[in-house]
């Protein structure tokens, strides 16, 4: 009788590990994890510098997400994750055609306003279907805001970064004006709430609703669209090499415009979902860009613009955002979440470099042992 060959098995394991290690997917995941870790370290440092005494507790509350609030906290984390996932998908979608859609805050804000307007003012629509009409309104409003930079890019070849940013500020001040014109008070609340689809039984006392289901479905649909459809392929060609796309007969202008339309629509949908989910959040007159829109850009960049990656990073951001609502009583501002996400975003830009360094140092150590 022969024993199994240990040497052969270790060799096989070593080669499988090498295969995983050298695969691009592994590197991408490693890069994202490295960026997230760097962001958390900086967050802890900032907490320590502001109030050293409560830093450990505050950090624990942030990273455990909704745990402090029990089932309601967990449900609310899902509720906050939905808009971030959708704005992230919006950025990822535009990135597929090679455009960096920084217009998400404006699209998000305009979508939010349209949803609130339909929810509060269009009382002639029956309440049972008004949420769907409101979301459709948000979808179209966001799409309009994405369409304008898209058309300008396709027809006039303007820089989409600048036009989208200008559209953001037009949206900020435009919505400030519209709030004054359409509503009597400066803060707007919707009269309707999205259906919870049984999620409020799963997470008792929370406002988890259909929004997170829509977000997950969107992520899956976009993943399939990118992988399996002709349009996804055409988008990829246009993004990778514009000249080639022209030469092989792809209608590049149409691809660009449709992509920006859908990209804007996703952000607008996110805005509608957040403000209709009944968290007590109100749309107020403001002069800064929408938080969820900016965080969506960060989420997309950390996930390296992969739809499924954006889904997970968005869920994670929802969790830490819910966690940050519990640190106000410890004397910290919940704006720390913005700093964390943007620091992660910054490190994600060169985390592949860090990943390579880590992998290389591991390899050289092994060689040293031999």
């Amino acid at each position: 009788m022969r024993f199994p060959d240990i040497d052969k098995m270790t060799t096989r394991i070593r080669y499988t590990w090498k295969g995983i290690k050298d695969s691009p997917q592994f590197r991408h995941v490693l890069a994202s994890v490295a960026a997230i870790a760097a962001g958390l370290v900086v967050c802890f440092a900032i907490l320590l510098l502001t109030h050293p005494s409560g830093a450990f507790l505050a950090f624990w509350r942030i990273i455990t997400g909704g745990r402090t609030g029990g089932s309601a906290g967990r449900g609310n984390a899902l509720c906050l994750a939905a808009p971030i996932i959708l704005t992230g998908l919006s950025v990822g979608f535009a990135k597929r055609v090679g455009q960096f859609n920084v217009g998400t805050p404006g699209q998000f804000l305009f979508g939010a306003f349209s949803a609130l307007y339909i929810g509060a003012q269009c009382t002639f629509i029956p309440v049972s279907i008004r949420w769907a009409v409101a979301l459709l309104g948000a979808f179209l409003a966001g799409a309009l805001w994405g369409l304008i930079p898209g058309v300008l890019k396709a027809v006039k070849k303007t820089d989409i970064f600048i036009t989208a940013m200008l559209m953001n500020f037009i949206a900020v001040f435009g919505v400030d004006w519209l709030i004054g014109a359409a509503f009597s008070n400066p803060t707007v609340q919707s009269g309707i709430v999205l259906p919870s689809m049984g999620l409020n039984k799963l997470f008792e006392g929370s406002c988890a609703n259909i929004g997170i289901i829509i977000a997950v479905l969107c992520a899956l649909i976009i993943y399939i669209l990118f992988k399996r459809t002709v349009f996804g392929f055409e988008m990829n060609v246009v993004g990778q090499n514009y000249e080639t796309a022209l030469n092989i007969g792809i209608n590049t202008k149409k691809t660009m415009i449709v992509s920006m339309f859908i990209s804007g629509a996703l952000s607008g949908l996110g805005g509608g979902i957040l403000y209709l989910s009944g968290t007590g959040l109100t749309l107020a007159v403001s002069e800064t860009l929408a938080f969820e829109g900016l965080v969506g850009i960060a989420a997309a960049a950390i996930a390296l613009f992969n739809p499924l990656g954006i889904l997970f990073v968005g869920l994670y951001f929802g969790c830490i955002q819910q966690g940050s609502t519990y640190i106000a009583e410890l004397g910290y501002s919940s704006n720390i979440i913005g700093i964390i996400t943007s620091v992660m975003f910054y490190f994600s830009a060169f985390s592949t470099v860090i990943g390579n360094i880590v992998l290389k140092s591991g390899a050289s150590k092994k060689r040293g042992v031999k």
Binding site: K156, D159, F161, I162, G180, E287, T288, S342, A349
Partner: protein, 313 residues
């Protein structure tokens, strides 16, 4: 007369910060570095500079304090530029993503710090740093009131910077090398220019100017800092391409946009528009968008803008 006075003063207040930040952007973009973190540099400069002014308010002469604060905020902008250069030049990453990350980071950091430090949602300046009158010059009949009273020292700084920039770009070694790096990085490298070094220097200059502009914006245009500089860093990018990356062009286009930006402030002092003030605030952004879209096909940008220098390895 008073109406013209108000318009000229407010236009100067709003266009000088826009001009300084656009000039900062010009230094970076002429060297081929697409600096989109201007907004973030402005916010960092504004945060640091405003805090400096509030802390040292009663300890110094007003004008001296203001000048020192402008330098300090410039250094703060430079710090952000250093991080940008680290990611985009040292590690050869793409230039858009780290820039956007720095914009977000400085915005949220300002919000966090303001939340922690002050009761309101903004830092208020209690003092007015304008020079009320200059001996002799203010007494000149019409021009005295128009140009030499109630002005800020930064207007003068802006004009000096314009002259310095024109001379520097056309006549100095750094300026010419900068243009070479922006137009054709490979050719510049083969002529023995260290492209990365030139670009780093340019980004640092750009950060200094943008940081300065942040504080100038707070002092002359808004009088309080609430974690936002109203998108001037992004407007500057548009101003830059409307001005064709030339100091004089940038000066003219930022003056025009500055007048549009000043409309709400003019309306406060000499009302001419009865509707919502927010409609007036949309105008500069909308006008920039339209002009930008109409003139886009004619714009010729530096050829190597946003590209890394390819190495032979």
């Amino acid at each position: 007369m008073t109406v013209i006075n108000i318009i000229v003063h407010q236009a100067a207040n709003f266009s000088v910060p826009l001009f300084i930040v656009a000039l900062g952007g010009m230094f970076a973009q002429r060297s081929g570095f697409k600096n989109i973190a201007l907004e973030g540099m402005m916010m960092t400069g504004a945060l640091v500079g405003t805090s400096f002014l509030v802390i040292f308010e009663s300890k110094m002469n007003d004008q001296a304090l203001f000048l020192i604060a402008v330098c300090v905020s410039g250094l703060a902008g430079m710090l952000l530029a250093f991080f940008y250069a680290l990611a985009s030049i040292k590690f050869k990453r793409e230039q858009l993503l780290p820039g956007m990350a720095l914009n977000m980071a400085s915005g949220f950091f300002s919000l966090y710090l303001i939340d922690q430090l002050s009761k309101d949602a903004y830092i208020d300046l209690t003092k007015n740093f304008s020079i009320q009158s200059i001996p002799y010059l203010s007494d000149v009949p019409i021009l005295g009131k128009l140009l030499f009273s109630d002005i800020y020292v930064t207007t003068l700084i802006g004009l000096v910077l314009l002259v310095v920039a024109i001379i520097m770009i056309n006549n100095t070694r750094l300026g010419l090398r900068m243009t070479a790096c922006g137009e054709n990085a490979e050719a510049a490298a083969s002529a023995g220019i260290d492209v990365d070094k030139i670009r780093t220097v340019c980004v640092l200059i750009s950060g200094f100017l943008a940081g300065m502009a942040g504080l100038v914006f707070v002092v002359t245009a808004s009088n309080s800092f609430g974690g936002s500089v109203a998108g001037y860093g992004y407007l500057a990018l548009a101003v830059l391409s409307l001005g064709r990356w030339k100091p004089m062009g940038v000066f003219v286009s930022s003056a025009v946009l500055g007048i549009l930006c000043a409309l709400p402030a003019v309306n406060e002092k000499a009302p001419f528009f009865m509707g919502s003030p927010y409609l007036l605030r949309i105008i500069p952004y909308l006008a920039t968008l339209i002009i930008f879209a109409l003139s886009a096909p004619h714009i010729r940008m530096p050829k190597s803008l946003g590209k890394h220098q390819k190495t032979g390895k």
